[in-house]
């Protein structure tokens, strides 16, 4: 059983990092609790894989500590940490049969053969690999190979965490769904900590209980899929989660009003006060496309917009409009009355979020 703690962790691939830009992982603290199903979500090159390799011990961090149950393990090589890792491209031992592949980690630990067999059969059964046990691993399909490499992580009794590095990249879409469910099943059955790296928000939210969103070498938010959607802690999370992402407006405070360029915005009192007292110039309001109401008639707290296009996406329509020269997206539910070229947008005041220097500022409403 392991709780994985990252303390003041930072990593740079340079020998003598000069600036913050040289760091693949910036100073961070994080705790992965025992038995959790976590996803590490972020765009390519944000440091997800680096972080994973540091946890597994393939990389030694330049600064900070990795703790397993409070024990510092920085110097321990991967073989001495009780973790398993599944890579983006399935790693299998070509010349061995599926059975031997699964038995490999056990045999490397000199497990007696009478204990290897039942364990391998059990894992093969869970992963539906039983009919393939006698086949050479080389001749399997990509998803079967990936199951074999997962299986090698599961056979060891001492494994307390399995790390997945975008394991479904090479798998066909229909099979992805099946494998993801399999992973969930395994997680529930074995009570193993699982950390799953992906750049696909759907994959992350279906697999994980909690998602850590990484951006530019830092975890910018750690929360449930719902929290990430409803209260993005960073503009990047707002933009990255949801399809399409959050709309942002750079605003300032003039004449007792919150202005988006020349357009005064009707906002709640707490936001207005926070904008007025902000010391930074980088102030943004964020609103999700789901939380805007579009109508043809003006009300006191709506703003005039120019409609650019309406795209019918089946269960909903996506409205693209311009406000103050900037492009916005709004979701219209099925059966929404058609809108003309000029319309009015109403922002649900409870759902408008304030970002100062890219980070969410709690304003007390909702």
């Amino acid at each position: 059983m392991a709780e994985i703690t990252l303390k003041g962790l930072a990593h740079s691939y340079e020998k003598t990092p000069q600036s913050a830009a040289d760091y693949a992982i910036r100073q961070m603290d994080h705790v992965w609790h025992q038995g959790g199903a976590y996803a590490l979500l972020g765009p390519s090159g944000c440091g997800k894989s680096t972080l994973l390799n540091i946890i597994s011990g393939l990389l030694e961090p330049s600064d900070g500590d990795v703790l397993f149950d409070g024990q510092r393990v920085n110097e321990l090589p991967p073989e001495e940490r009780n973790i398993a890792q599944v890579f983006q491209f399935p790693v299998i031992y070509d010349t061995m049969t599926v059975f031997d592949n699964l038995a490999f980690p056990l045999r490397n630990m000199n497990t007696p053969e009478y204990r290897v067999k039942p364990k391998v059969l059990e894992v093969a059964d869970i992963l539906d690999l039983t009919p393939l046990l006698d086949r050479k691993a080389k001749n399997l399909t990509a998803d079967e190979k990936q199951k074999v490499s997962m299986g090698r992580g599961l056979v060891r009794d001492d494994v307390t965490a399995i790390l997945f590095d975008e394991p479904l990249t090479v798998i066909d879409p229909q099979l992805k769904w099946k494998l993801r469910r399999k992973l969930k099943e395994i997680h529930e059955r074995f009570n193993i900590t699982m950390i799953y790296v992906t750049h696909d928000q759907l994959e992350a939210s279906t697999f994980a209980d909690k998602i850590a969103v990484m951006y530019d070498g830092q975890v910018v938010q750690f929360g449930t899929p719902r929290e990430l959607f409803e209260r993005p802690a960073h503009t990047f999370v707002g933009y990255f989660i949801g399809s399409p992402g959050m709309n942002f407006m750079a605003v300032d405070y003039q004449d007792d009003q919150v202005m988006f360029g020349a357009q005064p915005l009707p906002v709640s009192e707490p936001i207005k006060r926070a904008v007025a007292s902000a010391s930074s110039n980088n102030i943004k309001l964020g609103i999700r496309p789901e939380f805007m109401a579009i109508s043809s008639s003006q009300t006191t707290d709506s703003v005039p917009i120019q409609v650019v296009s309406v795209q019918d996406l089946g269960t909903y329509s996506l409205l693209t409009f311009k406000l103050n020269g900037q492009t916005f997206k709004a979701r219209l539910l099925e059966g929404h009355p058609p809108v003309g070229e000029t319309a009015f947008a109403h922002f649900n005041p409870d759902k408008v979020a304030l970002y100062i220097d890219e980070y969410l500022v709690e304003t007390g409403h909702e």
Partner: protein, 295 residues
Amino acid sequence: MNNKIPNNRAWLLVLPMLVLVAFSAIIPLMTVVNYSVQDVLGPNATFFTGTEWFKSTLNDPALQAAFLRQISFSLIILAIQIPLGIGIALIMPKRGWQASAVLILITLPLLIPWNVVGSIWQIFTRGDIGLMGWGLRELGVNYNLTRNAGDAWVTIILMDVWHWTPLVAMLCYSGLRSIPEAYYQAARIDRASKWAVFRYIQLPKLTNVLVIAVLLRFMHSFMIYAEPFVLTGGGPGSSTTFLSQSLTTMAIGQQDLGPSAAFSLIYFLVILLVSWVFYTTIMNMQKDKPPHGGA
């Protein structure tokens, strides 16, 4: 659906290739086949002999001895060069200027022409001025490759190992470089020992280049001519006379066109057969075994 357009002029497109192959392979080979079944006494005096030359070649004790020597030679150098080449490839530096430097150093022997290799080693092993010959003599070793068949064999094998192991090493090196890093990482996580990494990751991934290496080295060594010819001239006695040298003596020295044509064909077929058997065996090893009990 059959939308093929019958057009016999398409054969014209095959013609250039056919002509090329005819001149480069088929016609010369057929000439040899033609000679192998005739007794050629002069330009206009040839007699059909059927399989006589083949029988006499196969029953010639000198050729049988040369054949055995040839097989032993090829097996010995394969047994040394393949493991040695893999070993060298494993310890070669992987990146940086050291990698380039080692690659260049290792390639050097490959660039030297066969005759020159023979001459280099001929001088190198001389007892009076050659470094190795002189050195061994000074150390009290009774080394003389013109008198002692054992010395001659050791020297020829040493020479071939020096000349051709780099080829095996380079092929293996390229094979090793193409193994993705994830394999090594997975092996560490699976707690594989160094030996297990070699046995289950590196060696399997090297199979393809090793097939090429073994085939090339087998064919090369089975046809070896210039190096031993220059170094020992086939001696002492006939202890290092290999097949190609026997053939040259027969065809050029004695002008026995019929028997040497038969000999050439047998020689060619042996190489073809061994290469084919070897290749098929290796390829079959990679397939799944048929399920037991007819399941």
